[in-house]
């Protein structure tokens, strides 16, 4: 299982937790499992999310590997100027 930190305003859609545990060994599997286990997070995932894996922000890469002990943080999808 991978421990994923979610941001504050998503807590209400994840039983009030800061962290959720999901299964998966890459970006896509982790996101898919989040959508499956926490359907309340789906609207946000559809709007766009990034994943910070061990401090590096990934916006899209589905097949970036994620280990059980990786630090994984769900973040909004970033776009800028």
């Amino acid at each position: 299982m991978v421990k994923v930190k979610i941001w504050g305003s998503l807590k209400n859609f994840a039983d009030g937790n800061d962290y959720i545990s999901v299964s998966g060994s890459n970006f896509k599997q982790v996101l898919d499992d989040i959508s499956l286990k926490y359907p309340g997070l789906k609207p946000q995932i559809n709007r766009g999310v990034s994943l910070a894996i061990n401090g590096k922000i990934y916006r899209e890469s589905w097949f970036i590997p994620i280990d059980e002990d990786s630090e994984v943080v769900l973040m909004p999808y970033m776009q800028g100027g």
Partner: protein
Amino acid sequence: MDQITPKPVKQFKVIGTRPLRPDGIEKVTGKAIYGADLSAPNMLFGLMLRINEPHALIESIDISIAEKLPGVKSIITFKDFIKINPDNKYNETLENCIANEKVLYDGHAVAAVAAINLNIAKKALKSINVKFKKLPFVINIEDAMNKNAPLVAKGKKNENIPDGFSDNVVQYCSFGHGNLEQGFNESDKVIKRTFKTPSVHQGYIEPHACLASMSDDGKADLWCCTQGHYNVRSICSNIFKIDNSQLKVTASEIGGGFGGKTTVFIEPIALALSQKSGRPVKIVMSREEVFKATGPTVSSLVDVKIGMKKNGKISAAKAIIRYEGGAFPNETYELGAQSAFAAYDLKFVKTEAYNVLTNRPAQAAYRAPGAPQSIYAVESVIDELCQYFNHDPLYVRILNAADKGTKSSYGPTFEDIGLKATLEAAKVHSHYTTPLKDNQGRGVACGFWFNFGGNTCVSLNINFDGTVGIVEGNPDIGGSRSSISQIAAEELGISLEKVKTIIADTNSLGHNDVTDGSRVTFSVGLATIKAAKAAKKELCKRAAKLWGIDEEAVIWKDGYAYPAGANAGIQDPLSLEDIAKVSSQTGGPIAGHYEVNAEGAGVSFGVHLVDVETDLETGHTKILRYTVFQDAGKAIHPSYVEGQMQGGSVQGIGWALNEEYIYNNEGKLQNPGFLDYRIPVSSDLPMIDPVILEIPNPGHPYGVRGVGETSIVPPLAAINNAVSRATNIRFTELPLSPPRVLKAILNNL
């Protein structure tokens, strides 16, 4: 102009030097072709009809007289688009270009005309009869959030909005960690303040311009000034329901963007006018249109509460951020919430952010979008706490600075970052200890930006004469062609004069994300290195053929192929030129290419020092001295890195001292021109001293971080702090224009 490189890093030959830019001569002789400079045979001139009402229901648009005028060739309204693609996923973008059912802000377009000359087009606009019903409107954040506020748009609200607000509050987020209450209880002093910043415009000197030609079968050519022509293609091909391959978009030279040219405003309109008339159509915006209907950035209302211990340690921090970005939802509020406390290592921290709709033009990204506003508030409160405890403001920032291993306020743990080194560099700089006189104040502030990667393609072609052509797809907004050529020369081991980089049109190279997020030198640079590596591999293969040895027995070093070791035999090294000259005989042209969605961009921090003098009789503030310290990771072309640091700082100075969108009671913009919307001019400023630090980004082979955006973040608070110290009055609202400062001085007497 100093450059500080703390530890010895890889030695470079071309990178870090300051060659002349390759597009320079065209640009100093007037030859460079920008958006408005191109014309086509049989071209028509397009103009847009804009309604000067903040909010109105469109009842009818009668074009019957206008379309009969001699010389008028096509007229379009939103209805012409509905027929094309009802499922268009860029409908909000289109509705910002041309109003659908409602006029949503002062200056919103409702129709467009193409005619054989501008005079006829102007006449046609006057004879279009628009009937509308005025609606109640809302301009300011507080008013728009209020339960009883006029509703800007229905059905835009996300599922997670807390109760108690109007439906203009459409987006909400929060970030942070730890038990805030515990943190505040541990504080020796808590300061809570509310800050306001106005909408400001990116202020690029080149108005939006495009030239479009589209035939009935959906084949189209579009020329425009944009930060991302592939994005223009995505949006327009979706709106017109045509294949990507059939719409060729060419980016002109671009006269500034700063985030404001990352979307479309006139391009779909010109395409539609062209398709309807069967002739090419050029649209060039006026400056008034640029101010009224493009940009600006969000305005903000931010509460910040920070607790500090006597020793200067921050014990808890909270911000409530409210951004207003006009009549359409946007993501800027999230970036504001994430960046607010990014500079600090905090155990207890929380940010909440709301995005609010108003009857203003849709915000567009502006250099580090969202970060200057929230960080302005945070850095101002930290300065006030420093004053309260009589602590040195740099000491406090160093004490609390985020570092490698810090769990950032927005979630991830930082890798190598340059904040502490940047703060230390500021502390020992002569600027920091120069004595000040009466009515002068010194301000300090930190700034932060994430920096992006993204989709990037580079093709590197080795010509038969040993020169190298690079094809990339990101409009060059501040000298990136030079940096990319330098990277290729470095990697191939050849001289810079042998390399030329061009920006491809959308049909000549795969998709490239917008030139945004300070991503170009990082991402395109990364792809250039990989493309060069691919080319070197092929060069080695050819050398192996020429020598009759195994490919693996050849290595590339400093521009030459060498046998890898004694076993490979003794051969005179072959230069890139030697191999290129016979490439036709050894298998054909040699090239390398690389396509990637680059990830791993490194965050960047900056620290600004500013000395100001405030005239107590007029409220006018003069910038006396300005020094910028910023971590560039690695400066490829230091002059253009300095240029980014200086330019961003001066945009921030304008934001802090003068720039603001001013609306009257009727919701109409009062200052849509450079006379009344005052951006900094040369006589307002001193030299801006840049100090580049180089703390390599572990995610890039040369250590590059983005440099374009961080520099606009600190000036707002740095100047606010300097003026507050000069006058002994704490300011909480920008701009610190003479009337505002004078009023505060008079109230304080």
